[in-house]
Symmetry: C2
Subunit: 257 residues, 2 copies
DNA sequence: CGCTTCCTTGAGACGGTTCAAGAATTGTGG
DNA sequence: CCACAATTCTTGAACCGTCTCAAGGAAGCG
């Protein structure tokens, strides 16, 4: 299989050195999912077993990972990139119902069916493995299940955060909240730091709109407003600098005119 | 270890008759949570242990169960009634981010803090127990953890369903979707049945509005519209009959003029 | 019966959408 | 490296759905 892939660490930028690597499959060494992700709950033996069925793959932007209604047979770990979970109505209305980042687990245990589609928002690197093998491991490893449970709870918290935003925030507040979420995801250690934060927005305007329940035009207008107010500095549509995170945070709750 | 456990069925919602009730604590006999809820994963011994710390209580409508920011020390099972999970903004804007029904588990394992408030939407009967005891049981019972995980996944699915509704549905579609959700919750066995379904809406207009991201007035107008169109028959504001569930379902996706 | 709470209905205002045009950016082949 | 096409993003003007404000009616409760 592909064992020459220089995978995961690049994402968080923290290469990590294990002293005792001898038992760990080659493909898994230096993989972020093994530390922060669910694979961290697996023993070297389990890891070895799983790695035998593992396929690493890259999905280009807007490419499908799991299609709605599909009887999927694989789970994945995100090694790099951003995955969007979307829902589509018959008349074309679309909504992003969740965003996932490395090293999140993609899949729905206890079901092989879902109304939700998983698509690559950016180019995405995945580590995929058969549902069947994983399901069996889940059944036998309480540690693994605990990690999955914790991720589910975190996603539930996030989902409710966005329910709140979608239901009660104005367009301006929604866009500010979205940018803040991305900024915090990029740099989790600097929540209150007053040094500028520079990052790439992993979504295009159309995706931001689908995430926030707005139109492309409204998103664009609100970003312009934030730019003109000096809350953000826009480099090339995707790249943004936030000089003062607190000013951005203030925009998430007050519909500053 | 546990070889006498009648676990699996409960998940699928099949009420189950226990022949051997002798070991089960008196308070737990005839409790729905022991069958369909998480307690079904516990052995009689565990059940006995937990029941020693158990308090059954009733919370009147709009009463607090867990307040936002509170360092809560108890979990609960819902025995009857409806619980609303809400978020509040500084300026008073409010949003219901989740609804829970019997026999759902209320609480947030792995955290003792949450931005979310749990309130009684109707009068609610609860079975509460100390977080500490439960956390320990979770740590030692993979079956229990699995049930909690499954509930979390189900809630996540639901949350995403509503993210979709909040982001992309019109007021008319939102109200129809809400009524459908309640109707299906009341009578899960008759999803496609064409006989009329009669039920009580467990929320007042203000709560429906907070759930759907609308105002009271808009909710009221849309209910009136559905009534005038013959999709629903309103008895006394709370009590509603749906003559044809399919007609209601059709209203959830098409903004019928 | 009178109080409070809850619900309905109307008229006008406003935020976000729709429709339309054009600018900026990215990708591609010569 | 440039010319061209495709995609993505921005901006403006008119429209529409929902909100806001206001009043009154119905239901629940002492």
């Amino acid at each position: 299989m592909r064992n020459d892939l220089p995978t995961a660490d690049a994402i968080a930028g923290k290469p990590r050195l294990d002293v005792h690597n001898s038992d760990v499959p080659v493909v898994c060494r230096a993989c972020e999912a093994r530390h922060r992700g669910i694979c961290g709950a697996l023993t070297p033996q389990e890891l070895t077993r799983l790695s035998r069925h593992t396929v690493k793959q890259t999905v280009a932007g807007d490419g499908a990972i799991v299609s709605s209604g599909e009887d999927f047979r694989h789970y994945s770990n995100i090694l790099a990139g951003v995955v969007k979970l979307t829902r589509l109505m018959a008349d074309g209305r679309q909504q992003i119902v969740g965003l996932q980042f490395a090293p999140d687990f993609v899949g729905r245990p206890f079901r092989s069916f879902s109304e939700t589609t998983a698509e690559a928002a950016t180019d995405v690197k995945l580590c995929s493995f058969p549902k069947q093998v994983m399901d069996e491991m889940i059944a036998h490893s309480p540690d693994l299940e605990r990690r999955l449970y914790q991720q589910a709870l975190d996603e539930l918290d996030e989902a409710r955060e966005w329910i709140f935003a979608l239901g009660r925030k104005t367009a301006a507040e929604k866009v500010a909240s979205f940018l803040l979420m991305i900024a915090e995801n990029v740099d989790p250690e600097a929540p209150s730091g007053d040094r500028p934060i520079r990052f790439e927005i992993p979504l295009k305007r159309a995706d931001i709109a689908d995430f926030l329940g707005l139109t492309i035009e409204t998103v664009s207008r609100q970003i312009t407003r934030l730019r003109k107010a000096g809350v953000i500095v826009v480099e090339n549509n995707r790249t943004v600098t936030v000089p003062d995170l607190e000013r951005l945070r203030a925009r998430c709750e007050v519909d500053a005119a």
